[in-house]
């Protein structure tokens, strides 16, 4: 395996297991790079990247920007709140205007599922999906599975439960694809109202009792409840959600094995995870953030090589 099978990173659904392994191998070397006294390499010095964030983001945007700067790329940032989109310009026009400034790659977050694929079909640049609505968030799934591999040695054969708001989560879908491609067993757990109706067709186990799900798994990836995407009431109150689905230290201590706790952030402390669990040794949440930069460097490097 010498290069990626895809020209864009639109979703984990479209990449192969070999692609994921290649990204992991490259990310391992980049992780060493970002721990050097001087953390910058010149690989992408002739590349210009536009970060188009039509939706709010803190860590993904920072992580992508840092990855780009560590690779010596020129970076331009764009936030929709300050853009001409507010004046009625279409997405393709906005992006084509940016590309006229000789931009080679676009990292885009958008609230519409499929926005990245749409862009890849209509503009002449390498597109990386940084989250499209409730569809996919491929780099998050890559860094999550990379972090599992780093902690447990392998992903194949591991049991991973994704807990929380599966319905509104692009992280859940990308994680399901990535975990299954790498040979893990996947379970989703949450209130029935937050589990999509046909998710069992993806070959995942469904569990509504969080204690049972924790007893089954090796890794629990806890998702944030996405209040901003909820147009209806999916559970009575935060307090009730925390009482039934919040992970606490006594719940972890009651298990007969040590499980790994993950969270893609931002965390609602006291809702989906108690502070004690967030700060425990079993949580690899900050490792996920560090690995995010290395994974994004690997994705940018490998896609740039194909552009």
């Amino acid at each position: 395996m010498s290069e990626l099978s895809v020209k864009h990173l639109l979703g984990i659904k479209y990449v192969t297991e070999e692609d994921i392994q290649l990204i992991f191998d490259t990310a391992t070397q980049f992780k060493e790079v970002i721990n050097r006294p001087i953390k910058k390499v010149p690989s992408l010095r002739d590349i210009t990247i536009a970060n188009l964030f039509f939706e709010n983001s803190t860590r993904t945007k920072l992580s992508f920007e840092l990855a780009q700067k560590r690779l010596s790329a020129d970076v331009i940032n764009f936030a929709s709140s300050m853009s001409s989109l507010k004046k009625g310009e279409t997405l393709i026009d906005t992006v084509n205007n940016i590309l006229s400034m000789k931009v080679d790659m676009v990292v885009m977050r958008h609230s519409s599922p499929g926005a990245a694929s749409f862009l890849a079909q209509h503009v002449n640049a390498t597109i990386i999906n940084a989250g499209d609505g409730a569809h996919e968030h491929p780099t998050q799934a890559l860094l999550d599975t990379f972090s599992i591999k780093e902690r447990l040695g392998d992903v194949a054969g591991k049991k991973v439960v994704i807990v929380g708001d599966i319905l509104h989560s692009r992280v859940a879908l990308s994680n399901i694809f990535a975990l299954q491609k790498l040979g893990a067993q996947v379970c989703v757990c949450g209130p029935k109202t937050l589990i999509p109706k046909h998710i069992s067709s993806l070959g995942v186990k469904i569990e509504t009792n969080v204690q049972k799900a924790l007893a089954w798994c090796d890794v629990a990836n806890i998702l944030r409840v996405q209040f901003e995407r909820m147009s209806a009431s999916y559970f009575p109150s935060n307090r009730e959600y925390a009482a039934f689905y919040g992970i606490t230290k006594p719940m972890i201590d009651a298990l007969d094995k040590e499980i790994v706790i993950m969270h893609p952030g931002p965390i609602n402390r006291g809702v989906e995870l108690s502070s004690e669990v967030v700060d425990s040794n079993q949580a690899i949440i900050l490792d996920q953030v560090e690995n995010g930069v290395a994974i994004r460097m690997a994705v940018l490097y490998l896609l740039a090589a194909k552009s």
Binding site: S2, T26, Q29, V33, R36, P37, I38, P42, K306
Partner: protein, 179 residues
């Protein structure tokens, strides 16, 4: 594809001892010296020299690192192949050290230029020297010359110099191969 033997097992053995001897003469007890094998092909040569220094010249405190220059190469996105990194092991500080870069074949000099840039990421060495087993003179693109050299070779562009090590290919030898 035809190939011609440039150095036999015996020739290589003599040259390795000579290079180790020159290093010993220049660097004494190696207390302030760091040998750096360039990935992927300079590492094997560096390991052989280290072995000779430790076991035949009884130098106990000689340090060896491995430097991968993939991310510093100037042909990224300019060749058909995707460049894949190798393991990089630069645990020892280079600050104020005397560095000896070790590679098997010096050809255009571009790898060495990349290595000089890569070393900057780890600090400021007091001196950097270059040791190569084969120097393909008259093929240089950059003003880079070795300080220690096993054998100078005149090769034309469609010829390739291939260094074979027992550890990888069952024999110690250097061949000139017609592409």
């Amino acid at each position: 594809m035809s190939q011609k033997l440039l150095l036999s097992d015996k020739d290589l053995h003599i040259i390795l001892f000579r290079l180790a001897c020159q290093l010993k003469e220049t660097h004494g007890d190696f207390s302030n010296t760091l040998l750096i094998g360039l990935q992927p092909r300079g590492v094997r040569l560096a390991e052989r020299l280290l072995h000779i220094l430790q076991h035949h010249y009884k130098v106990s405190d000689v340090k060896l690192s491995q430097l991968d220059i993939t991310f510093f190469r100037d042909d990224f996105r300019r060749s058909d192949k995707v460049l894949h990194p190798s393991i990089n092991d630069m645990e020892v500080s280079v600050e104020n050290k005397r560095i000896v870069l070790i590679d098997d074949v010096l050809y255009t000099g571009r790898s060495i230029r990349a290595a000089l840039t890569a070393i900057d990421s780890y600090g400021r060495p007091s001196e950097v020297q270059l040791l190569t087993l084969i120097d393909r003179r008259f093929s240089r693109h950059l003003p880079i010359q070795p300080d220690f050299c096993g054998r100078q070779v005149d090769a034309i562009q469609n010829e390739r110099v291939v260094v074979s090590w027992k550890e990888d290919h069952d024999e110690d030898a250097v061949y000139m191969v017609n592409k």
